[in-house]
């Protein structure tokens, strides 16, 4: 009897092990299941636009760009996001990786993001530039293909949002490689080419850029958001740059006010505004013939836009229309007064006596760096202002036919542009 009991206990104990293991396995399996590629959430999305435009008398059909977006959410905390941008440019096709980054949700208030991300500098760059979001076919001056301020970062960022009583705020704080200042032909007697690029995937020096944006939504209906952004780098020049360190400070202010279904005006109002300022420390280059070049780069860009959509109109056609007006401007460093014998206005001027001399350069940000892919009408330098009007017809929440007319003024001439574009988010 005692033997039988012992045997029974042993059998029970032996079978309990696998049973326990099985329960444990079920849990682990479920955990693992959520990590398998087939069970984590993969999303392929993107946007495109195409159309017809006439700029200063030259008309053309255009097929803007195709921007596939791939996202992969793994478990509850990890999100990978990436965007490719494929565009016709010049004689060929330009292929760019607009961003690719991994986010890890730390808790309700903080997310860690690493990789290449769109700079949270103002709001246009990372929140409004896609063709199906931007209400006009072109980007505001200085915010699209000719930007004042950074557009992409290679770095690490902490971002998040929280309630603050009836208000809300969101924040981003990052460290990144910052921009690169490149000086070519430094040893020839001809004026050197100076360019600034955000594609700094292997930093050219040890100084990192520090930056961030703070957004405040004072009202509990989230209609208004005010944002302040800044980015500072103590050096954007190469480590071995002969002329010392060149610092850069960028800052921006943005505003967004959106209120939908307002009864008295039977529709939606959308106001956006932004101001970007970019200041690069003054630096000088000495040419072999002893002449000095002094670079002084302070640029700004701004825009304000208002849109009205009679969404509550009883006419189904009218309710899909949207009217947009935008005023934008860009102020690039001025050419110095006395440049009579300089045939090329875009190259830096040589100051014979070495005194401070404001110089006019090509726009420092190279077009490749920019998000958006929406062509600006005029690419020449100097101060410009632009006024644009548009009428949109919304076929669905992410597909729109945009018609717009804009006039750009560079203080000497005016250029007009007419656009008929179809933009689709998918």
């Amino acid at each position: 009897m005692g033997k039988k009991l012992l045997l029974l206990i042993c059998t029970l104990l032996l079978s309990a092990g696998p049973l326990l293991a099985q329960t444990y396995n079920e849990e682990a399996k479920q955990d693992l299941e959520s990590l398998k590629p087939g069970t984590s959430n993969f999303l392929a999305r993107g946007y495109s636009h195409a159309g017809f435009q006439s700029i200063d008398g030259n008309s053309s059909f255009v097929s803007g760009q195709y921007a596939p977006i791939l996202m992969w959410k793994q478990g509850d905390r990890i999100l990978f996001e990436s965007e490719l941008e494929i565009e016709f440019e010049g004689d060929g096709v330009q292929f760019a990786l607009e961003y690719a980054n991994i986010s890890y949700i730390l808790n309700d208030y903080a997310i860690l993001r690493v990789g290449n991300f769109l700079t949270p500098f103002g709001a246009f760059n990372d929140r409004i530039h896609p063709a199906w979001i931007n209400k006009l076919p072109t980007a505001p001056l200085g915010m699209g293909h000719d930007p004042v301020g950074p557009t992409n970062e290679f770095g690490a960022e902490l971002r998040g949002a929280a309630d603050l009583g009836n208000s809300k705020f969101n924040y981003s704080l990052y460290l990144s490689n910052g921009s690169i200042l490149s000086v070519h032909d430094e040893d020839s007697t001809s004026a050197p080419e100076v360019s600034l690029s955000g594609l700094n995937f292997e930093d050219n020096n040890n100084e990192k850029a520090i930056g961030g944006r703070f957004g405040f939504l004072p009202f509990n209906n989230s209609a208004l958001e005010l944002g302040v952004s800044a980015q500072y780098t103590s050096n954007i020049a190469n480590k071995d740059f002969d002329y010392g360190k060149v610092g850069m400070l960028n800052y921006a202010f943005d505003l967004s006010f959106v209120k939908n279904s307002i009864q008295p005006i039977k529709g939606n109002i959308d106001i956006k505004a932004q101001w970007n300022q970019s200041n690069i420390d003054e630096f000088e280059l000495v040419l072999p013939d002893g002449d000095e070049l002094i670079f002084d780069q302070k640029s700004s860009a701004y825009y304000t836009q208002i849109a009205y959509r009679p969404s509550l109109s009883s006419s189904p056609f009218l309710s899909k229309l949207e009217f947009v007006g935008r005023y934008s401007g860009i102020d690039l460093p001025e050419a110095s007064e006395e440049h009579g014998d300089e045939p090329e206005t875009t190259s830096p001027k040589v100051s014979e006596n070495g005194t401070s001399n404001s110089l006019r350069l090509k726009s420092l940000f190279t077009p490749e760096v920019v998000g958006g892919g929406e062509e600006e009408e005029v690419h020449n330098e100097g101060d410009r202002t632009q006024i644009a009007f548009g009428i949109n017809y919304w076929i669905s929440w992410r597909s729109v036919i945009k018609f717009s007319y804009q006039i750009t003024d560079n203080n000497e001439d005016t250029f007009s542009g007419m656009y008929l574009h179809y933009a689709l988010g998918f």
């Binding site: 959430n41 993969f42 999303l43 996202m71 959410k73 999100l79 996001e81 986010s103 949700i105 309700d108 997310i111 993001r113 990372d126 929140r127 409004i128 199906w132 979001i133 971002r159 949002a161 929280a162 309630d163 009583g165 009836n166 809300k168 969101n170 924040y171 981003s172 957004g215 004072p218 009202f219 509990n220 209906n221 989230s222 209609a223 208004l224 958001e225 505003l255 967004s256 006010f257 959106v258 209120k259 939908n260 307002i262 939606n268 109002i269 106001i271 505004a273 101001w275 701004y302 304000t304 208002i306 005023y327 401007g329 102020d331 101060d383 202002t385 919304w394 929440w397 992410r398 988010g425």
Partner: protein, 105 residues
Amino acid sequence: MKFSGISKLLTLVILTTLAFTTYSCSTSKETTEATSNDGLDDLSFTLEKSGAVLWGETCGRCHNAPDPTAFSDRQWDAIGSHMRIRAGLTAEETEKIVTFLQQSN
């Protein structure tokens, strides 16, 4: 010269915004009074906002608010996280909106 133009512009923007916010605040107060007759103060009212209301207020700030039927439950889950990160939304509002979208698609 330039600056006077810009400051005029900014003044215009600020004034228009103020006009609309005053209006929008007064409307949201009305809603508060109408709904929170059980002694809830403004703060708890904020917390009580439903996913549907939050969807209307939040998802249309940058682009048109997407229709709940546009995506499946799984897709809404990924999009919710994407928007929370990209658009700086709070964890709580994102969760409520995603639940609403998943229930209404």
